[in-house]
């Protein structure tokens, strides 16, 4: 009997533990009792300090009906809806939004954090980021975005063009960044680490809303690197969704101080060793009326060396690139090793010019070390105290930077020898 009682007690204890653990007890919540936020937008408020926009997945239009989608979120989509509230802080806004919805707002699946340019330029990011970082539901793998104009307007247009899956669309931004290189990959984790660092200044993904009928607004210059000179919201185009990611917002500490275009982002990625791949269109060195298209990759990590003797640090940057020829409009035989070096040298020169220009802008205009040269400068300091005393961010604008670019054409695509197209009879010069 005693033995039986003992076993019975043990079984009861076991059942209690299992029942408590598996049901979640006090914190149990049904999935369909939640309103899942996909993106959060922060704007400067008019009546309150903050205007918070929450883009929430609604699960309406699951069957792919078009009508509902168009009524709600811009073109296509329709799986999300948004709530905008004026509030004093993030959680105040969430509380207010919770009074509108019967389901409880949950940030566990949020993919984007979108800050308006106005808020970013005022330095107000500092106020809101602490709440975002501290809250357990928010993951630091969210994309950190600064939008031209209002975050509220951007989120209205934040709908997928293909398919009916807004979260997937937002997550694919990472791949978009990798294969275009015009968009930096900036997570909340990266932004926060850099904004707190004494060695680097942060950047954010630059986004915007492209107005309808912008096709004629293109203003391609004679610059050597075409098509990368735009900022978000300015790409000459028709079709697709109105939302656009292009370029980056530059911060000094927590304050936005400027923007860099798509080409700038490519240079930024090269210095960080994050440049995976990008198409480059350059003017033909031997036939300036034509252009050459190249598919360029980083062949190995850059070599960065920072010497900190005196007040003027000396920074040496060497970039290693390799590429494949995509198109030669002039059909000059650049595949020939005797001529390929012309193309290689020209490309190296162009990249160096852009790199130097970006570094100069960061030193003189932004006074922000977005390249993280400070991380390499820290090698020369034995302790945190000596490093902090040196005050890198003050020294960076005075630094003497020398850059070197190495480029090799590795492949020539499916053609190994370009030759001119036979001109029509009677047209021979």
């Amino acid at each position: 009997m005693n033995q039986l009682m003992r076993k019975l007690i043990m079984v009861l204890i076991l059942l209690t533990v299992i029942a408590s653990c598996t049901s979640g007890c006090y914190d149990q919540r049904e999935v369909d009792e939640m309103a899942y936020v996909m993106a959060m937008g922060f704007d400067k408020g008019t009546t309150e300090k903050l205007r918070l926009t929450l883009q929430i997945i609604t699960f309406r239009n699951q069957e792919g009906g078009e009508q509902g989608g168009r009524q709600r979120g811009g073109q296509g989509g329709g799986q999300t809806d948004q709530i905008t509230v004026e509030c004093s802080a993030l959680f105040d806004g969430i509380n207010l939004a919770n009074t509108i919805l019967s389901r409880q707002i949950n940030l566990m699946h949020a993919k984007h954090i979108v800050i308006s340019e106005e808020l970013a330029r005022n330095g107000d990011v500092e106020k809101y980021i602490s709440a975002v970082i501290r809250y357990r539901q928010i993951r630091r793998i969210m994309n950190f975005i600064v939008t031209k104009g209002k975050a509220e307007d951007f989120l209205k247009e934040n709908q997928p063009f293909i398919g009916n899956d807004p979260p997937k669309d937002m997550q694919l931004l990472k791949k978009q960044s990798a294969y275009t290189s015009y968009i930096p990959e900036v997570k909340l984790f990266d932004f926060y680490n850099n904004v707190k660092s004494t060695m680097i200044d942060p950047i954010a993904i630059l986004a915007g809303v492209n107005p309808e009928g912008n096709l004629a607004a293109g203003n391609l210059t004679e610059e050597s690197l075409q098509s990368g000179q735009y900022l978000a919201g300015k790409i000459p185009r028709e079709g697709g969704t109105k939302k656009e990611y292009f370029g980056a917002a530059v911060f000094r500490g927590a304050k936005m101080v400027g923007e860099i275009d798509g080409n700038g982002v490519k240079m930024y990625k090269m210095v960080h060793g994050l440049f995976e791949r990008g198409y480059f269109i350059i003017n033909d060195p031997l036939a300036p009326d034509y252009v050459i298209s190249l598919d360029v990759r980083q062949s190995r990590k850059p070599s960065i060396e920072v010497k900190v003797t005196g007040n003027e640090p000396k920074i040496n940057v060497e970039i290693f690139l390799e590429g494949e020829i995509l198109a030669i409009q002039s059909r000059i035989n650049y595949e020939d090793p005797k001529q390929s070096h012309i193309l290689e040298t020209t490309f190296e020169k162009i990249i160096k010019e852009h790199l130097d220009s970006l570094i100069k802008t960061c030193q003189q205009d932004f006074k922000a070390d977005i390249f993280g040269f400070g991380r390499y400068a820290a090698f020369s300091f034995p302790t945190i105290e000596s490093w902090e005393e040196y005050n890198w961010k003050e020294k960076f604008p005075e630094g003497k930077v020398s850059t070197k670019v190495n480029f090799v054409i590795r492949r020539t695509g499916m053609i190994t020898k370009s030759s001119p197209i036979v001109p029509p009879i009677g047209d021979v010069q």
Binding site: M10, I13, L14, T16, V17, S20, C21, G24, C25, Y26, D27, R136, R139, R140, I141, K168, Q171, L172, K187, F189, Y192, N193, K196, S197, T198, M199, G372, R375, Y376, A378, F379, F381, P382, T383, I384, E385, S386, W387
Partner: protein, 366 residues
């Protein structure tokens, strides 16, 4: 005398690994990074080496009194009353350790997973599992621990490898952190992180000989050094110093940022499993050692009668701290900072007193 059964080298090493290395799963990592900066990963190696030296002193003490466990040695060296009092201090230290561990885990669970669940409810759930383990005694506790040792090691190492691509070598600079002197002093003081190895002296008779005791202690400390140092290394590699001092539970924060594409995310599910198991088993081991000391001090033969009162005592101590900051900055901090006095200082003092007073074990006298 309390019957503890018999355990092997692997089981005993597992006890040490859980008591020591599972600290890396909690706030200890953050605290060490705050104290020393990016040099934390090798500061703990200094602590580990100091602990190995301390363990060598313990071995010398145990060799001087063959066949005797620590409580018996203390009584022989200091006399019955003083020896018992010292033993009770160690007993209290283990209860205190278990209580701060339980509460730290409870608070962390509340922060990250169950914000609405009352802390007492979480603690009661842990204690229910602990009661079952303690009721069945050392053999069951040690075998359960050894069963979960590989999941703990593999789980932690997989987290390290998954997080590695996020790391930046430059985050480990300035290499000397807050200075070499501070690194060395902190390393020496915090040797108490590995001090729980002294627990093996309490269950020496279950270990079947001094050789097994030596092996289990050394293996336990060395594996723990590797795990803790790797945890600190990876953590410092991923988070710059200014951010690394902020995170409440460093490794959990790390697992939340690991992502491989759209599908492989939220790796904290691995972490939370090993985290919960580690917290329960560490509490159980610490509490068993306290129980064992108490029984040996007062010559109680059946430890089971003390299981429930001890768990209630632990619950009462664990519920005292008013917030998570009090636990980490006072309870845990002082334990890590001054624990060496008991874990290393006491055996050394006992060895000296034994030598001065000419006290030796029976076989050593022969």
């Amino acid at each position: 005398m309390i019957q503890e059964g018999k355990i092997g080298v692997f089981e005993a090493s597992s006890l040490v690994i859980f008591m020591v290395a599972s600290k890396a799963l909690f706030g200890a990592v953050r605290e060490l990074v705050e104290a020393t900066g990016p040099s934390a990963w090798y500061t703990t190696i200094i602590s580990g080496i100091t602990a190995l030296i301390g363990f060598w002193i313990i071995i010398r003490l145990m060799q001087r009194f063959p066949g005797q466990e620590l409580v018996s040695i203390l009584k022989t060296v200091y006399g019955r009353i003083t020896g018992s009092l010292i033993a009770l201090i160690i007993c209290f230290l283990y209860i205190y350790n278990a209580a701060s561990f339980t509460r730290e885990f409870t608070e962390a669970v509340k922060v990250f997973e169950y914000p609405l669940t009352p802390p007492s409810f979480i603690m009661i759930l842990i204690l229910l599992a602990v009661i079952v383990l303690l009721y069945y005694g050392l053999e069951t506790t040690a075998r359960t621990t050894s069963f979960f040792t590989w999941p703990l090691i593999v789980g932690m190492i997989s987290i390290f490898f998954l997080g590695l691509p996020l790391g930046k070598l430059t985050n480990l600079y300035p290499l000397l952190g807050h200075g070499l002197d501070r690194t060395i002093i902190t390393g020496l003081l915090r040797s108490s992180v590995y001090g729980e190895v002294i627990g093996l002296t309490i269950i020496l008779n279950a270990l079947q000989g001094i050789e097994n005791f030596k092996k289990a202690g050394k293996h336990g400390i060395i594996i723990s050094i590797i795990i803790i140092s790797l945890s600190l290394f990876i953590y410092s590699l991923i988070f710059p110093y200014s951010v690394s001092v902020e995170n409440t539970i460093p490794l959990l924060t790390l697992t939340r940022i690991i992502e491989y594409g759209r599908f492989f995310q939220r790796f904290e599910s691995i972490y939370i499993f090993i985290w919960s198991v580690a917290a329960t088993l560490t509490t159980a081991i610490n509490l068993y050692l306290a129980l064992s000391i108490y029984c040996k001090t007062f010559r109680i033969n059946d430890h089971r009668v003390l299981v429930l009162p001890l768990c209630i005592l632990l619950f009462s101590i664990a519920i005292i701290p008013k917030d998570i900051v009090t636990i980490t900055s006072i309870y845990v901090h002082y334990l890590r900072q001054y624990g060496w006095i008991i874990f290393i200082g006491l055996p050394l003092l006992t060895l000296i007193v034994a030598a001065v007073r000419g006290k030796k074990g029976e076989s050593a006298n022969a």
